[in-house]
Amino acid sequence: MLSVTQKRDGWSQKALPKNYDYTSNLDTWPWATTMPHVVIVGDRGSGKTTVLALLYAAQVKSGATRADDFRFHVGLESLEEISEVFQQLMSGSFPDSAAKEGISSITFHIASRKAGLGLLSRLRSQGWNPGASASLHFVLLRNLDDEMARYRIGGSLVNTKLRDVLESDAMIILVDSTKLVASGQEDPVAAMTTYDAAVESLVSAVQRSRGRGSARRFHPIFIFSKFDSVHKEALRRAELDSAPPAIRETTRRAAYARALLDTNLKKSITRITAREVQGVRFATPSYFFSRVTTEAATGDRKERVRLRQTQGGGWEPDYSADEYLALLESLRKLAIEAGG
C-alpha cells in the first residue's frame, strides 16, 4: 500500500499500517457528518491552543457587535474548555498546561449575513436559521511525532484522532515563526526539520487515504504563529519586509509565505503544492500571520499577553485580529463548500 514516493523517504515508509482501508467511506463511520473537520497541527509550544483561543476571541468580539452581522454558537461540550482559555487570555495569561490538555477538539457553528438587508428584518432573521450556518469541527493534534509513531505501530484504527486527520477537509499547519531561518542558514538537526518531515508524512497519508478522483478537496492552511517574534535576520536574508503583505494581496502574500516555507518546511510545501498525486487535488494553500503582543517576564511574573482597549471601551488581547477574521471567513467559505 505504500507509494513509490514514500518508499524513497525513510521516515514515512512505515507511516501507515498495511491493513488500513484508504478508500473507506467517511459516511460509514459513526461520527461522520457533513461538518468539515479541520485538523490543527503544530510543533510543541508553537501556539496551537493560543491560535484556537484567539479564533474564539475573534468570534466573541464579532458576535457581540452593534451591527449584529455575525453570530456563532459553541456546543456545550466545547464551551467549558474554550471559555477557560479565553478567560486566561483576557486576564493577560497564555493558556496554561491544564487548559491545553483539556482541549482536544472543538466545534463552532458560524453564520454571517450580508449588509443591506436592514429593512427586511424577516429576511435578516432567516439568515440565522440553523440551516444557514456553517459548522466546523477542529481537532488538535498534539505531539505530531508521537501520534505518527503510534500510528506506525498499527494501533491506528482505534485512534479516532488519526481518523479525523485522514478524513479531514482542511489542515491548519502552524509554523512557529521563532524557529524560522533564512536560506543558507538551515541546520539539518533543527527542530523544524523533524517537524517538516512529520507534516509531510501526514499530508501524504491524507493524500493516500482519499480515493482516486475524490471530489472532496483538501485545504492546507498555514499559520505563522508568533510572527511578531520572527528573527529579523531570517526576513532580511530572505529579502522580505518585516510585515507580510495585506490580506487582500493574495499573490504577494503567498510569495512572502513561500519564501519562508521553501526554506523551512520544504518537504511539506512541496508535497502540498505538487500538482496532483494519485488523483487527489489539494486546494491552493492559504497563509495567515498570527501575533500576540506580550509583556516581557519580570522577576516572579511570567511573560504576559498585553491587553489593548477596544473601541467600545473594553479590553482584548493585542493580537492580529484582522488575520483571525480573515481566517474565520476563509473557514466559513470552506465549510459552505464542504456542506457543513
Binding site: 456545550l76 464551551l79 457553528h109 440553523p130 471601551g313
Partner: protein
C-alpha cells in the same frame, strides 16, 4: 411558565427578589387591577421577611439568603379581551381572566449544573426544573464592572461571563433536545424560544469612569431600542461571551433574540465625607396617598419588568401546555 433567575454570589439576587416582591405588592394593589400575583406559603414567608426587613431599612441577611433554595410567584395578567367584558363576567373562572406566569428562582450551585454540562443528562429534578425555564433572568452586578484589568472584580466578571454563557448554552441544548424529542414523537411543537431578561443590578454603583469610557451617560433611556443599545454597550464589554451566545442561540435552533433589559438600584444612606461602616441601610420613601415607608428603589423598572412578561404570558401557555400534555401521555404510556 417557568422562569429562572441567574446571578453571581452577592450580585443582589435576594435583594432583587425582595424589590420585585415590593413592586408586586404595590403594583398588584393599584386601581387598574390588571395584574395579580400569588405566592406559595413557603415563598410568602421568606419574601415577607425580606420585605419587612427592607421596610425597616435593612438588606436581606445572610441567614435569610441561605434559606432560599426555590422561591416562586405566580404572576397573573388580565387578558385584553376579558378586560373589556363586564365586571361580573370577568370574575367567573370559566372566563380564564388571567394569563399566568410562574416565576421561580432556584439556588443551584455551579457543580449541580456541571453534570448536565459534562454529560448532557439532567438527572436531578431541580436541574430539570431549572432547564425547563422559558424565561431566563440574568443579573449582572454593576458594582463589579471595572476597567482596571488587574483587579479581582475584573476577574470575577470574566468568570461570571463564562459561567452564564455556559448556562445559557445548557438551556439551549436542553430545549433543543426536548424539541427534537417532541418532534420525533409526532407532537407538533413550535421551534423553541427562550426569553432572556438582563437586570443590571446595583446600577447606582456603576462607576462614572466606566460610563465615560464606554461613552454612556448615567440615565437609562426610555425607548426600548435605546435601552437595548445602552445595556448591550455594557454587556459587550463585561459579558461578551454571554451576549454572543444569546445571539448564537438562533444558530443552535433556539431563539433568544427577544432579550429585554432592566435596571435595579436601591438608594442607600450615605454620610458625607465618610466611608460606610458595615452593611449600608436602605433609604425609605416618605408617606403619600399611593403608599410610603418603602425602600426607595427603581420601582418603574420593576413595573417594566413585570409588564415585560405580560406578552410572554399571553403567548407561551399553548406551547407549554403542549409539552406538558405530551409528558402526561408519555407517563400514561410508561405506566
Amino acid at each position: 411558565m417557568p422562569c429562572a433567575l441567574l446571578g453571581d454570589r452577592a450580585s443582589g439576587k435576594t435583594t432583587f427578589l425582595g424589590l420585585l416582591y415590593s413592586a408586586q405588592v404595590k403594583y398588584g394593589t393599584g386601581v387598574q387591577d390588571d395584574f395579580r400575583f400569588h405566592a406559595p406559603i413557603q415563598s410568602l414567608n421568606l419574601m415577607s421577611a425580606v420585605y419587612e426587613g427592607m421596610k425597616d431599612g435593612r438588606f436581606p441577611s445572610a441567614t435569610l439568603k441561605e434559606e432560599i433554595t426555590e422561591l416562586g410567584f405566580i404572576f397573573g395578567y388580565l387578558r385584553k379581551v376579558v378586560g373589556k367584558l363586564p365586571y361580573y363576567i370577568r370574575q367567573q373562572n370559566w372566563a380564564r381572566p388571567f394569563s399566568t406566569l410562574r416565576f421561580s428562582a432556584y439556588d443551584v450551585s455551579g457543580e449541580d449544573i456541571e453534570e448536565f454540562i459534562e454529560t448532557g443528562i439532567a438527572s436531578r429534578p431541580l436541574i430539570q426544573q431549572l432547564l425547563k425555564s422559558v424565561v431566563v433572568v440574568v443579573l449582572v452586578d454593576c458594582s463589579k464592572m471595572t476597567t482596571e484589568i488587574d483587579t479581582p472584580a475584573y476577574k470575577k466578571m470574566l468568570r461570571y461571563d463564562s459561567t452564564v454563557a455556559k448556562l445559557l448554552v445548557a438551556f439551549q441544548t436542553y430545549k433543543k433536545q426536548e424539541y427534537d424529542r417532541l418532534k420525533d414523537s409526532g407532537v407538533k411543537a413550535e421551534a423553541p424560544r427562550i426569553y432572556p431578561a438582563f437586570v443590571l443590578s446595583k446600577f447606582d454603583t456603576l462607576k462614572d469612569d466606566v460610563l465615560a469610557r464606554l461613552g454612556l451617560h448615567r440615565g437609562f433611556p426610555e425607548s426600548k431600542r435605546q435601552r437595548k443599545e445602552y445595556a448591550e454597550a455594557l454587556l459587550r464589554v463585561f459579558v461578551p461571551q454571554t451576549l454572543s451566545q444569546i445571539r448564537g442561540g438562533k444558530i443552535a435552533g433556539v431563539s433568544m433574540d427577544r432579550a429585554a433589559y432592566f435596571l435595579s438600584w436601591v438608594r442607600t444612606e450615605t454620610q458625607e465625607g465618610m466611608d460606610p461602616v458595615g452593611q449600608s441601610r436602605i433609604v425609605r420613601t416618605g408617606f403619600a396617598p399611593e403608599g410610603g415607608g418603602e425602600a426607595d428603589f427603581s420601582y418603574d423598572e420593576y413595573v417594566e419588568f413585570i409588564e415585560h412578561f405580560r406578552d410572554i404570558a399571553h403567548k407561551i401557555p399553548d406551547e407549554i401546555l403542549e409539552a406538558e400534555k405530551f409528558q402526561a401521555q408519555a407517563l400514561v404510556r410508561s405506566a
